[in-house]
Symmetry: C2
Subunit: 249 residues, 2 copies
DNA sequence: TCAATAGTGTCTTTGAGACACTATCCG
DNA sequence: CGGATAGTGTCTCAAAGACACTATTGA
């Protein structure tokens, strides 16, 4: 923001404003595709981190997979624009939405100068289906291991940065539960950590660590029906469905 | 970036692109102003964190202090734009420049929709003077304790977020030396930490901690002339004068 | 010698991880 | 009972802080 005052008027001509777009990196946990990898012997992780990509219907990069995104409308905030992109491309609601970074390299779009504010979203895929809007030829979930390649524009760089951010943030912030239903067991929460970080956690240590953060609370309910001791259900203390406002930690 | 394809053509009319600007939060360490606070007894901190503000010459917020900033030129990246703002408003070079956040609230500029990509810069003020460009009525360093208030637009919110980010980052990243000359003593480096975090550090523990990061190296030189044991001079291992490119940790 | 700051040694505390152990369900 | 998962106890190790101690200069 701020001053237009220091813009001397004689460069008005070249001052065509860059296009402003919003792209969204949409993450979800989904069952591992058994066709992809022939079930490694030691790996017991059944959920894998996935990202939603759309296939471009026009040039440039026609036919390439890309992050969903589009122009910012004049009557919506950046975050609202990201939420709209999410809603248009899928029928999913974001449990968590955070601004990632703004990409503005000169040559990132061959059509002309474009600056993109990128958000990343965590969604519960549950049993909901992707409902691609009318403009989208195709939308599909891709496992991030390995990262799909190549992508249109600089979207590979963006996706890698989003992955780095998510994997770091899940270690110190309380966001893993955003992939889960409102109530969940500690084993489910631990499985989310393990799927994102790719590292096994000790169940006992994990329980103590996450309880020490005081961000979840045990409910009275338990899961019945297993052939073992029934686990307690927990609930996150912070609200799980509101969009974050402004800069976040 | 990405698609303009999903923009159905009938909303072209309302799709006037938002103005895109870059603002810069310029931090420096400067001697405490003895007139401001009458030298608290216990406080031995002689350096204080300061931020550079410019006084607005036009409406809106005419006469108010604001962060330096302006329109992004079509032929410069966002980071180049931030560096140019810095150069135009001051004669200082940034030792460190990092993207902070992009602010896009609908009502943040009364003149119309404006989205601002905000960077923060660390500069060595040394003996260099601020050389305000021709367009700037006035530029001045303000101590951030307390934060100057009120500022134009949403710049108070931006400044507070930048402060939060800097104070966090200095704890885990190797950036404190960016406020110092190319070679510096550990006592100088510790003084930077203390000025930013507001907390005293034990000299011995601080030495071990920073040496464990292996980001600085002892030089042969020492500081002569004091009436005490001469301290070693250190040098940061990473380059101190290059602008960061792309997303950073 | 003293005053002052540089730099080291070492004890305590704290938190993370390894891992053995007990608890409670189903069949 | 056995198999499976839930949950607890406790040991070890490493990093961070408190703080006493030694080292080296100028005056």
């Amino acid at each position: 923001m701020s001053d237009t005052t220091e813009t001397t008027e004689n460069d008005e001509a070249k001052n065509v404003a860059p296009s402003l777009t919003v792209d969204v990196v949409i993450f979800s946990l989904r069952p591992r595709d058994p066709l992809q990898l022939p079930e490694e012997p030691g790996a017991e992780i059944s959920q894998e981190l996935h990202v939603l990509l759309v296939r471009r219907a026009k040039e440039p990069f026609k036919g390439c997979w890309a992050l969903p995104g589009g122009r910012v409308h004049p009557d919506e905030s950046l975050e609202q624009s990201a939420a709209r992109q999410l809603a248009e491309k899928t029928s999913l609601r974001a449990a968590y939405l955070e601004q990632l970074y703004t990409f503005g390299r000169l040559s990132r779009d061959p059509r002309g100068r474009t600056v993109s504010v990128v958000y990343y979203a965590l969604v519960r895929s549950d049993k909901q289906q992707i409902a691609p809007g009318p403009e989208v030829a195709e939308a599909c979930w891709f496992s991030v291991d390995p990262v799909p390649n190549p992508l249109a524009f600089d979207h590979s760089e963006i996706l890698n940065y989003a992955l780095w951010r998510l994997r770091n943030k899940v270690k110190y912030a309380n966001i893993a539960f955003q992939f889960l239903p409102p109530t969940f067991t500690l084993t489910q929460l631990r499985a989310v950590y393990e799927a994102i970080t790719g590292r096994k956690e000790d169940p006992g240590n994990f329980k103590r660590k996450v309880e020490a953060t005081e961000t979840i609370v045990k409910t009275e309910a338990r899961v019945e029906g297993g052939r073992h001791r029934p686990p307690s259900l927990y609930r996150a203390i912070v609200q799980t469905d509101l969009l974050h406002r402004g800069p976040v930690s």
